[in-house]
Amino acid sequence: MITIANKTFSSRLFLGTGKYSSATMMEHAILSSGSELVTVALKRVEHQHADQNELLSHLKHPKIHLLPNTSGVRTAKEAVFAAQLAREALETNWVKLEIHPDPRYLMPDPIETLLAAEELVKLGFVVLPYCGADPVLCKRLEEVGTAAVMPLGSAIGSNKGLTTLDMLEIIIDQARVPVVVDAGIGAPSHAAQAMEIGADAVLVNTAVAISADPVAMADAFRMAVIAGRLAFETGLPDVKQGAQASSPLTAFLDV
């Protein structure tokens, strides 16, 4: 169970909805993953006729909540506008704030993201910002009232895993809001690793969507997230070089 703002989700796996070979395939993969929060790009939705949208019609399940995202915008101003459109079209005040003005690596703009987050929180949105794995930025986002932070594991769609591991550990250590590791998670082991270091959730898209069998891959991620979380809650032993004798320094006290 994980709670973000006022909602509780039984799965710590969140999914994207892009890149699938069909909307039906997407639906089956999402159901297989057990995910209860899926993100949808506003630009893909006909916001005046959201009720007739094919993509959305495949996401109508009682347990699945929509998280509209602002993908495609380049500035805070555009993001705030997009979030408002999304609120009308999808009837939710939740928004995944994505401002990546660079279309090559899709790196989030920290300055515009912070500005937009502050504004959107004031406007009553539940803001989940996609951001760089920058511990200070994550604290600043938290301070302006975001409901979570979503630092990147590596570049979107890169499947490289947690190349930002050290920074993610600091972010998780410092955070007072849920940390959702987003982007770059290319294998179930990456998702498990994120959970093992204490991330509250992960968001996955490419690795499932472009898999030869998205339904099976979604299930693999479902299990990996559960396993990683269980390991974190149980407490993993520290990694040590070589063996260590028991109590070599204080054994004399027992004599």
Binding site: R44, E46, R74, L85, P103, T206, I210
Partner: protein
């Protein structure tokens, strides 16, 4: 500006450099994680021909990773065939005695209705170059009509000044396509003897002006066959390489119009075969994972069916290349002959059968 980079190259040296590449150069290029423009030369060289299957597999994989199993559909909409330029290869050239037509608002609305009926949300507006009749004044009048009906508006019109592009952006235009035709300066002048288009420099600098105006997506390309297609493609790639770094907030796309030998038309200087076109598409993808690659209806059914998986990210269907072609005046002269005349619905079925999701909408004019 790109001019400085362009001036640092010599056409003949580049040409020779491409044709000198060996199988070993191609192997090196394929083994690299990040490829350079030199690698691109190897990949488009004759030496890469035996590597085509491997290139296709890598291009497929890279495209799916970046774009997913999706294909964007779009349609061209010709607003006018008025043109003050002479271009030796174009049906709308000033010296061609054809009935000239520019859509008025009512006609445009009829065309829009026909295109929307086919399911389209992304539209590409096309004109010739006739500044008085089809200039900014005309665009100011017509664009609000278009943006009210489409989620994504692209334009392929005459080169404009930076402030005009900024205004088009404000009017809701997302994408500007402007093709250099050829980067061979002397041959360019030979093929464009009259009109504003004869100014090579102004055209070469156009993507810079588009980029400075903050346009979201910029399309570049060469008319393949007008000159040596390999050398022109290298310059296109070098142009893209520069533009991507200079205008880092813009997206880019490349198209592959090829000049085909036909009766009474201009004989291509070099013919690019189907195999070579596939090689070129894969080479662009292996150079650049993010660039959008676009395919028109100039190509045959069979070619288009198979190219879906090889690196292309957007494709047109049911296209008409004459103003009024969809509803107002379907019989008028087209700019170029369509080879694949399947409807968008038929094309969508082919795409879905190939295991791809057809994307009709991937933008919103209200987002800009």
């Amino acid at each position: 500006m790109f001019t400085e980079i362009f001036d640092s190259y010599d056409w003949h040296e580049v040409h020779a450099g491409i044709y000198k590449k060996t199988a070993a150069d191609v192997s090196c290029a394929l083994a690299r994680k990040k490829r350079t423009l030199e690698d691109f030369k190897a990949l488009i060289s004759p030496a890469a021909a035996p590597f085509l299957e491997q290139m296709a597999a890598m291009s497929h994989q890279e495209t799916v990773r970046r774009f997913g199993k999706t294909m964007q559909l779009y349609a061209p909409l010709y607003l006018s065939n008025e043109c003050q330029n002479i271009c030796t290869y174009c049906g709308f050239s000033l010296d061609n005695q054809i009935p000239r037509k520019t859509l008025n608002t009512l006609e445009l609305l009829q065309e829009i209705a026909a295109v929307k009926e086919m399911g389209y949300q992304h539209i590409l507006l096309v004109t010739g170059e006739a500044k008085q009749l089809v200039g900014m004044e005309y665009f100011r009048k017509m664009l609000p009509v278009v943006t009210a009906h489409f989620a994504h508006v692209a334009m392929e019109v005459q080169p404009l000044d930076e402030q005009d592009y900024a205004e088009l952006h404000e009017l809701g235009v997302n994408t500007i396509l402007v093709y250099q035709e050829t980067y061979h300066e002397e041959d360019y002048k030979m093929h464009h003897p009259k009109g504003k288009k004869s100014n090579f420099q102004y055209r070469l600098e156009t993507p810079d002006r588009v980029g400075r105006a903050g346009i979201h997506k910029i399309g570049v390309g060469a008319l393949l066959g007008l000159d040596d297609w390999r050398t022109d493609s290298f310059f296109t790639a070098a142009h893209l390489h520069y533009l991507q770094r200079q205008y880092w907030k813009s997206k880019f796309s490349i198209s592959f119009p090829r000049l085909r030998p036909h009766v009474g038309g201009l004989e291509p200087k070099t013919v690019i075969t189907d195999r070579e076109l596939v090689q070129l598409i894969c080479a662009y993808r292996l150079l650049n994972g993010e660039v959008e690659l676009s395919m028109s209806t100039r190509e045959s059914r069979s070619f288009r069916n198979h190219i879906i998986k090889l690196g292309i990210t957007s494709i047109s269907a049911g296209s008409k290349t004459n103003p009024g072609g969809y509803a107002v005046a379907p019989e008028s002269l087209e700019q170029f002959e369509i080879d694949d005349d399947r409807s968008p619905k038929e094309m969508a079925t082919v795409i879905e059968q190939a295991g791809y999701q057809v994307v009709w909408k991937d933008w919103d004019t209200s987002l800009q």
